[in-house]
């Protein structure tokens, strides 16, 4: 780890002003990913601007909930309004990491955590994300945990967050502040697919700070959940995960559905195609399966992860069936 200046500004605006004066500044939240990346010399900031004590309230209104970017993951998952109105979000957070890490990690840091691709961490490996233009050893290496949707010849890494999968399904908006002022962006537009530049992971501008995440009103999310499939039952990254909300009318037809996938792409994957296929149709297992087939139509497996294509389909069906209740499916 190289030496850095540490500052703890009193406001977001002050943090942005400090970061703008440094060529290689990083905002520091809980540090659970950034400190590790700095030890591995993947990240080498010369200044850390500690924003962990800023923006740490949850503002609950009837029509939305605004979660400060500095709020700890545990505090989000434990909040009664989140548990009752957006259970998929509480479940997604609780499915991630360990209790110790959830107590440290902030919402903003969770969003901006980087892939756990082992080749990205290995400084003897070729990695276009770490050293653009050097190639990708994961493509022909051990790629059990890698992407099946939206990958490119340059990169097959996945975004590791569970929380973001729920935020994608919920149509969450990210509040940003930069030297040019404030703006908002849909979470699903924040992260990029790798394309030819996997080193550029988000649409954030230089020095821009995430200040909050806004959850819009979604009454049907009260009936929502998160299902994570992984190699051990706790404290492991997802092979495949599904965040889903299902709203079924009295006749058994789907009024609305929200579906997002984790562990399978370079960004949290909102399953728009499957949602469109499901709306207005009877909530049945064959229809869930058909929608899953549509969403995974372009999926491409690598040597070790082709199983994830079928696993993703089955996990979608299982999650929607669970929400639909056994009597209906």
């Amino acid at each position: 780890m190289i030496a850095f200046d540490y500052t703890r500004p009193a406001s977001a605006s002050e943090a942005i002003a400090i970061a703008a004066k440094q060529a290689h500044a990083k905002y520091l939240g809980g540090g659970t990913n950034l400190i590790d990346l700095m030890r591995e010399t993947i990240e080498e900031p010369t200044a850390l601007v500690d924003v962990s004590t800023l923006s740490n309230t949850i503002d609950v209104r009837d029509d939305r909930i605004l979660i400060g970017a500095g709020v700890k993951n545990t505090a989000v998952a434990a909040h009664r309004a989140i548990r009752e109105r957006y259970p998929m979000l509480a479940r997604a957070i609780l499915a991630g990491a360990s209790a110790q890490i959830r107590n440290m990690a902030s919402v903003g840091g969770n969003i901006l955590q980087r892939t756990r691709c082992t080749y990205f961490y290995d400084d003897a490996a070729h990695c276009n994300k770490r050293w653009p233009g050097t190639g990708c050893d994961a493509r022909d290496g051990f790629n059990r945990n890698h992407a099946i949707l939206g990958a490119s010849p340059a990169c097959v890494a996945t975004h590791p967050s569970d929380m973001c999968v729920a935020l994608a399904a919920l149509d969450a908006t990210v509040h940003l502040r930069g030297v040019d002022g404030d703006r908002t962006m849909k979470l699903i537009d924040l992260h990029r697919l790798p394309g030819g530049r996997p080193d550029i992971e988000t649409e954030l501008r230089q020095g821009e700070l995430i200040t909050a995440v806004e959850l819009p009103s979604l009454p049907s999310a009260a009936r929502s959940t998160y299902r994570k499939v992984r190699d051990r039952s706790s404290y492991a990254f997802a092979l495949v995960s599904v965040a889903a909300a299902l709203d079924v009318d009295d006749a058994g037809h789907i009024r609305d559905v929200r579906l997002a996938l984790g562990g399978i792409a370079h960004k949290p994957w909102r399953a728009f195609a499957a949602e469109a296929a499901l709306r207005g149709t009877p909530a049945t297992q064959p229809n869930f399966r058909d929608a899953a087939e549509i969403e995974l139509k372009d999926a491409a497996g690598l040597r070790d992860n082709t199983f994830k294509i079928e696993l993703a389909k089955r996990t979608i069906v299982a999650t929607l069936s669970e929400l639909n209740g056994r009597d209906r499916s």
């Binding site: 030496a3 200046d5 009664r80 009752e84 209790a99 107590n103």
Partner: protein
């Protein structure tokens, strides 16, 4: 920098790169807290900050100035073991003992989470009023602490023995997100 560790005030001049783990072990010689993986995977470095469990290996000390930090050494009172330490002995909750300080600090932090009604990934009813400390809840909630000797069954028995299995815990999490 000023730190409050086990009720003692410490003023030190530290490199900003120093982790909270290296502060307590290398600078304050509180070597009860252990360095296992140094990357947040094993939980051996677990300490309590304002009563919450964290991995001290991933914590920059500079971020924890003026917070109330408790390590395994801080649990002993008047030279008497903490009841959970005694329970680990009685239930063979360790062999080599390397993970034990982290396990014990983690279990104490876990019980505070239960009392605050924090649910877990396996809590069936997120909107429920109570959480039960079942065997499965305990295993899930302690999954951030690995024991390479395989003493997990004894660890779980020790925690259950100390904190009555199946007890009801209020889920009205009183602490708003603002710290």
């Amino acid at each position: 920098m000023h730190f409050i560790i086990n009720g003692q005030n410490h003023a030190l001049d530290l490199d900003s790169r120093t982790s909270l783990l290296d502060l307590v072990r290398d600078h304050l010689l509180l070597t009860g807290t252990k360095k296992g993986c140094n990357q947040g995977a094993c939980g051996a470095c677990t300490v309590l900050v304002d009563g919450e469990r964290i991995n001290s290996c991933l914590a920059l000390a500079v971020q924890y100035q003026d917070r109330t930090i408790t390590t395994i050494e801080g649990l002993v009172s008047a030279n008497a073991l903490h009841p959970l330490q005694q329970a680990f002995i009685e239930h063979d909750g360790f062999q080599c003992g390397y993970c034990t300080p982290g396990q014990i600090c983690s279990a104490i932090g876990m019980m505070a989470e239960m009392e605050h009604g924090v649910p877990s990934a396996i809590t069936a009813d997120l909107a429920g009023e109570t959480v039960q400390l079942t065997h499965d809840e305990l295993r899930e909630r302690m999954s951030g602490n690995l024991c390479r000797c395989g003493a997990h069954n004894g660890i779980i028995q020790a925690i259950q023995d100390s904190f009555a299995e199946g007890g009801d815990f209020k889920t009205n999490y009183p602490k708003e997100a603002a710290e």
